[in-house]
Amino acid sequence: MPPDKLGLPQGTLDLLILKALSLGPMHGWAISERLHQVSKEAVQVPQGSLYPALHRLERQGWIDASWGASDNNRKAKYYAITRAGRRQLDTEAESWRRLAAAVQQILAMR
């Protein structure tokens, strides 16, 4: 991994996937691209680890999977966030914000 790319702290991948899907259904590759772009290429999601995470979220009922056609008209598996998933996203985002703020304050200590 190049030095200018950030590794993801444990457990944040689920949060990022839910956030990405909250903007609309998309397939696995698109999620990884979106995260890559939005983070200005700072966040590198290991592509392989995306799929176990997606399946875990599906099992937990936070996202739904369905087969649809991609832009180039190929069969692709699309994921969409569920209502339970949105609630989960809210809770997780809130706790992430609080954690980040707390860490920020500690770092600002003199």
Partner: protein, 907 residues
């Protein structure tokens, strides 16, 4: 929460059931990702090939990703279990000989145990159906001193029952009951069946509402004669009356009584009667007065009832026993007073106590119940031998699989997974063995049940839940027992050593274990064979035991008058007619009337012997009355004096013949011939003055003959000529024949029946049939021990064979080297065989020691047979040695055929 649970379930269900689709979808999804990535890179100007390679690198190891994703599904454990199971099935089917061996061995072990459990449960544990407050309901056991010994008894007279009902304080229920065979129906429809004679309060102890009509009420038990009513057993109602509800109000003749049917009992209800399921229930008073006349209510002569009592809640057994004993002593004193005897309560010390409703747990447990317990022990031993053998088979098989297992360990299959597979294999075999065992219990087991359970008891013992549970537990135990061995083995396996040695490096502990199993098997076989031998000898002794009459030659014919009343002259004429008709039947050698029938019904009367005031304490005296041909017919030998003659008529000199034992008990050291005996043949009537019975002169002494059991202690018989027996004899006969007794019984029935008036009915059976139950327990013991012993012997021999064969295979090179160094083939053979016999010697030693340890309790169920017979021990040891030699011989011969050159080359 529910959403989540639902989504989990849906996801896992799909993952499990549509596994292939889910896998394909995953492939597809990952493939799509790679395509997209590659297209993106290609668009950036990479060559197609380079773009794909870069996409794969960015993605990571596809298989690892798939594995991680599968783990997420959460069904891996289940999938592995399923795959282990199908692997197990495939491998078991591939090794059919092994599988059949294991399943058959386990089926034998488990089937035997399921059957025996069902029997023991029934005889000793399970409470009677529909009984309430099981803990407080008891039978009653009485005892008193007779001739310096305590005598135990549970049958009482009707007045004793009413004494107890009046005097007992600590019981809220005191009931009487009896079961006996009686003729039911009229004319052509007459059949013999067990009937239950009960006081109506028996029903208070049960939760048994009638299926139809009503049960007995207090009015049915009102003095003097009760109500002539009957309640049909459910099964009898279905089979004989087709379940018709209109049966209520119909008349049914039961024994001598015409009874009105008032109800139908619920299914399965038998009271606490263990022996035979009754067909009809009748109230006690009505039955007794029809059978015996009004004297039944006051006379202490007729002991025929059993007691069932229920302690009041909160009353301890000690308090209950004290209460019972006190009531019994009062009743005893009342009996003595009625008889005009002196009060002997202090010296006879009558006492009473409560006992289990299960006869098998009481002080007069039938021999059957005790033998059944022994057989249960034996069944457990057979189970252990079977498990040892299966473990041995597993070990032998493990030799061949060692390389295979080492290979799989080397390839990265976890030890846990390997152990799990072995467990799966054992459990599969255990359960398969269990299922075959149940089949076996169902089919062959019924033979065992017939031998051990009382006649007529329900044969379907394996259908109840408890037996199933025990069978299942046994199957699992067998599986687990046999798995411990192979699984520990897998845990210990040294991968590199085994792979290097080509699967030959057997570990020392394994061999010790196998040897230990062989020793244990030999020991258990020795115990079983000793048991088998002593039981067979005991059964032979019992059969050869002289009963004092020629049972095998005798047929018993009983005419049941069933209420048809004849005057004295008419009865005598009928008896004479029947006697003549019987004598005319070809093959009949002699015929006699009989007041008592050995092993069936016995009559007793009070005796008065001048100069012997304590006659009651000198034994139990059974009255027999017979025709002039009595002794010729029965074969009972006259030792001194004479038997009966046609001259012993009603008005002649009153005579009596006594048994040898009676002569010695009553007149010890003196000649019995010429002595005087008064027989109190008329029941005492309260208030009436007693007439002294006539003095009968002893004219003969006969050999002792068994009337109630094979080996009566202090039970003696005396004989009166029929014309001199004032009460008269009901028309029952003993017929001596030289032909087959079963065949002649049928012929006699046809000949006698047309001579009978009214509803009277004749019943003819070979006397041997009445005596047979006496031998049954010993024969059952002999049969079962022999079968199990032989089984254990074969299993032990097989175990030894596989051990020796395995060792020979291991040491082939060593034998080759020995031969090359000059050992003869004989030396090699001796080496191999002596190893086998040494193990068996240790086992036999241990087994015989164990046999000595259990000898004393075992002797209590044997008939005049020591369980420590040196000849038996020697025979058993010898036969086990021979079996060991035979078992070791084949592999030993194989060892002698090892080619030294070949062996050295392999080295």
């Amino acid at each position: 929460v529910f959403d989540r649970l639902w989504s989990e379930l849906r996801y896992r269900w799909r993952a499990l059931v549509r596994r292939d689709t889910v896998e394909l979808e995953l492939d597809d999804e990952l493939q799509f990702h790679l395509e997209q990535e590659a297209r993106k890179l290609e668009a950036k100007g990479l060559s197609r090939e380079a773009a794909w390679r870069a996409a794969r690198v960015a993605f990571g190891a596809t298989e690892a990703v798939k594995d991680d994703t599968r783990d997420v599904r959460g069904v891996v454990g289940l999938e592995q279990t399923w795959s282990d199971f199908s692997h197990t099935l495939r491998s078991l089917l591939a090794h059919r000989a092994f599988t059949v061996g294991v399943v058959a061995t386990l089926a034998l072990g488990i089937g035997v145990n399921a059957t025996v459990f069902g029997i023991v449960d029934r005889l000793l544990v399970r409470s009677p159906e529909r009984l309430r407050d099981v803990d407080r309901v008891h039978r009653v056991h009485l005892s008193w001193t007779q001739d310096g010994q305590r005598r135990s008894e549970r049958h009482v007279q009707f007045p004793r029952l009413t004494d107890f009902q009046r005097d007992l304080r600590h019981f809220d229920l005191v009931a009487g009951f009896q079961v006996r065979t009686a003729a039911i129906g009229r004319g052509e429809d007459t059949r013999e069946a067990p009937i239950a004679i009960i006081t109506p309060n028996v029903l208070d102890a049960f939760d048994a509402p009638p299926t139809l009509g009503r049960w007995f009420t207090a009015a049915d038990e009102a003095a003097p004669d009760g109500g002539r009513v009957a309640v049909l057993a459910h099964g009898f109602w279905l089979t004989r009356y087709g379940g018709r509800p209109e049966v209520l109000g119909e008349t049914l003749q039961v024994d001598r009584m015409d009874a009105t049917i008032v109800g139908v009992a619920p299914p399965g209800f038998t009271g606490i009667i263990e022996s035979r399921a009754p067909a009809v229930f009748v109230p006690l008073r009505a039955f007794a007065s029809a059978a015996r006349g009004p004297a039944f209510a006051t006379s202490y002569n007729w002991s025929w009832l059993e007691l069932m009592v229920r302690r009041r809640a909160g009353v301890t057994e000690e308090a209950a026993n004290a209460d019972l004993t006190q009531a019994f002593r009062r009743s005893w004193a009342a009996e003595s007073a009625l008889r005009g005897d002196r009060d002997d309560v202090a010296e006879r010390d009558p006492s009473a106590r409560v006992g289990s409703v299960h006869l098998g747990r009481g002080p007069d447990a039938r021999l059957d119940a005790r033998v059944a317990l022994w057989i249960a022990g034996v069944a457990v031993v057979v189970f252990l031998v079977a498990c040892a053998n299966v473990a041995n088979l597993f070990l032998a098989r493990a030799v061949h699989r060692q390389r295979d297992m080492a290979m799989r360990l080397a390839l990265g299959v976890g030890r846990g997974r390997l152990a799990r597979q072995l467990l799966m294999e054992s459990l599969t075999l255990g359960v398969a063995g269990g299922m075959c065992g149940v089949l076996l219990a169902w089919t062959a087991g019924s033979a065992l049940r017939v031998m051990l359970l009382p006649e007529g008891a329900s044969a379907a013992v394996v259908t109840d839940v408890r037996t199933w549970l025990v069978t299942f537990a046994l199957s699992l135990a067998a599986g687990a027992l046999t798995v411990v061995v192979p699984a520990t083995l897998a845990g210990r396996l040294d991968v590199t050593a085994v792979l290097k040695s080509g699967g030959r490096g057997a570990t020392r502990p394994r061999r010790r274990l196998q040897a230990g199993l062989v020793v244990a098997q030999a020991a258990l076989s020795a115990v079983l064979l000793v048991g088998a031998a002593v039981f067979v000898l005991s059964a032979e002794r019992a059969q050869a035991h002289r009963l004092g009459l020629d049972v095998e030659r005798l047929v018993y014919a009983e005419v049941n008058m069933r209420g048809t009343r004849l005057d004295e002259a008419g009865a005598a004429t009928l008896a004479a007619t029947i006697e003549d008709a019987v004598r005319a039947e070809p093959g009949v050698a002699a015929v006699t009337m009989a007041a008592s029938v050995p092993f069936w019904t016995n009559e007793a009367r009070g005796l008065i012997v001048p100069g012997v005031p304590d006659i009651r304490e000198r034994g139990r005296f059974t009255l027999q009355a017979g025709s002039p041909d009595y002794f010729a017919a029965t074969g009972t030998r006259i030792l001194r004096g004479r038997g009966f003659t046609p001259g012993d008529v009603a008005g002649g000199l009153p005579i009596i013949v006594v048994s040898d034992g009676m002569a010695r008990a009553v007149w010890p050291g003196r000649e019995a011939l010429g002595q005087c005996v008064r027989v109190d043949t008329m029941p005492p009537v309260p208030g009436a003055t007693r007439l002294e019975p006539p003095c009968r002169t002893v004219v003969g002494v006969a050999e002792e003959s068994a009337m109630t059991r094979l080996e009566p202690t202090r039970e003696f018989t005396y004989y009166l000529p029929v014309p001199q027996f004032p009460e008269g004899v009901s028309p029952q006969f003993l017929v001596r024949t030289d032909l087959d007794t079963t065949a002649i019984a049928g012929a006699l029935r046809e000949r006698i029946q047309p001579l009978l008036p009214g509803a009277a009915y004749v019943n003819v059976v070979p006397l041997a049939d009445l005596v047979a139950p006496q031998y049954r327990a010993w024969q059952a013991g002999a049969t079962v021990f022999t079968a199990f012993g032989a089984l254990a012997l074969v299993l032990a021999a097989l175990g030894l064979h596989s051990l020796v064969a395995y060792e020979v295979a291991q040491r082939e090179q060593e034998f080759g080297v020995r031969v090359a160094l000059g050992a003869t083939r004989r030396d090699v053979l001796t080496l191999v065989v002596s190893r086998g016999t040494r193990l068996v010697a240790i086992g036999v030693g241990a087994g015989l020691a164990l046999a000595v340890a259990v000898a004393r309790p075992l002797e209590s169920v044997l008939f005049h047979q020591s369980a420590r017979d040196p000849l038996v021990f020697a025979t058993v040891a010898t036969s086990l040695f021979l079996a060991a030699i035979v078992a070791a011989l084949a592999p030993g011969l194989r060892a002698t055929r090892v080619d030294p050159a070949e062996a050295l080359r392999a080295e």
